[in-house]
Subunit: 214 residues, 3 copies
């Protein structure tokens, strides 16, 4: 069941990469490369940092799912554009909820502290999207005020706190559900954090730091 | 012979990095850094993903060739600009043909399936160029409709199919030749894939997916 | 003492990430993610390339310092903006001087040749800043003519040359001091390399190379 959900998550990530790539006129191979990068990028970075074998080299299923989903999205683009866009967002939210909790489990099982595990959950779920935005030349998802990284962080923190108190599989489901529900609410009502928790500075005199370009 | 060709490929990659960096007024050290990144970026990513020692840490020749080529390009830029631009493109096509087939061999020798090997061939030949475009703030080569990733993919698929039927060094040469010829044709006649194999969507209602910025 | 300085360096890197992220209106979590990426990105890349355990997985202190500094910068932004901006630049220069020499030591201790060690020093000190610029959608620091990468390179070369002649801890301090002083001079008088050592080309006919977009 969870394995199946993970494949759905991979497929939705690949679709989001393909959809993002179609803003420019790209050929089918470049589009499929962007789809692949988006789908497996986050997990690859996690595995490289943790120095474990890269997941899609171990189990090729994820690779084929990402490839197949990218191709099918390219071919069936007219059909996909007629889907309610929020349906894709909800599927994406499912993938994100699942992948972040799975990554946290993996890091905890390798003996890493809870804080590292939460970061690994975040890396796994958002790095693919950041790579997608960078290679397709768009503002990265970190630059959006949308409630995207926050549910993953909050859900991850909730999970590592609860799992130490009650080491039960139910906690996993609750944490995944919490991330999904937070994302779903954000998608449905276009939520973002209140302005007090955001920051924007227009002053120019901070351009000095760390070799930044003037 | 092949070793020599690989060094030529590295040098041409470094040159392409330097030429790309000269669109902004950069100083010599930044330019050399971009040249190095372009030359060794793809192979480094391949080695990190496959978890083998990074190639330019094992054999420093590639490192020195990349460094030297970057410096020489900086110094001899007036001379290089007088070369026919297609000459550089043909040398680049040679490097790409060689590196992708070498990476496929490496992945197959490590026991990875053919599909992974083909992806590794692609990663090795294009990741350096993508990094070059990202750090010099330009649209990545994936966003170009040019026939660049496609010959590598097609040649790689051809290679892994044929090498299983006829495990002969001749197959290697044929595959490299096929990639080079496809690239050369694309360079000579500015080929790209027919429009039916490309995709571009102007609708705005797909911006919902995966935390993309509105 | 050196350990303490390293934590200061990490904290300043995180601050520079946060300050860079505040140009767009981001929420606190995205900002903290950018801070973290900036602070640990360079060291992470170095460790992945050298195939040693990633430093912030080994010693969590750096991780907590980066996290704490990001949060405090977010909260205390009004206070930080009233600091003299050059103070942050000088702290950054200290971090850069320290991290590059430490990375060189690490690479030399692993048996790598001096040239590789110098590159590792550079990777460690600038990769975080490049990632920061890429995810916040700004021109990377490599595109600046500011004297940023150059002091690190020159100081690193000086260090590996001297340490082979006189293997003494004093050499370390001299090399760190040299990098810091070069950076400090650049910050104070806005130095950059003379025009003869820079390059900018406006001709369009070099767009052919390596699949670059027309």
């Amino acid at each position: 069941m969870e394995y199946l959900l993970a494949q759905v998550g991979i497929a939705v990530f690949a679709m989001s990469g393909v959809l993002s790539a179609t803003r420019q006129r790209l050929d089918i191979f470049s589009i499929v490369v962007v789809g692949l990068l988006t789908a497996v990028g986050g997990g690859t970075l996690r595995d490289v940092i943790l120095d474990v074998p890269v997941f899609w080299l171990v189990d090729l299923t994820a690779f084929w799912v990402a490839l197949g989903a990218s191709f099918l999205t390219f071919i069936g683009i007219r059909f996909i554009l007629r889907l309610p866009p929020r349906m894709l967002s909800y599927l994406d939210a499912m993938g994100v909820a699942l992948f972040s909790i799975q990554a946290i489990d993996q890091a905890l099982a390798l003996g890493y502290p809870a804080a590292v595990a939460v970061v690994m959950g975040l890396v796994t779920s958002i790095a693919g999207g950041i790579v997608r935005d960078v290679v397709t030349n768009r503002p990265t998802l970190l630059l959006s005020r949308e409630f995207y990284a926050t549910p993953i962080l909050l859900g991850g923190i909730l999970y590592v706190l609860l799992i130490q108190l009650v080491p039960s599989p139910v906690i996993r489901l609750i944490a995944m559900g919490a991330i999904f529900v937070m994302r779903a609410i954000a998608i449905r009502w276009r939520l973002c954090l209140p302005l007090q928790l955001t920051l924007k500075i227009d002053q120019l005199d901070l351009t000095e730091l760390n070799g930044e370009k003037r």
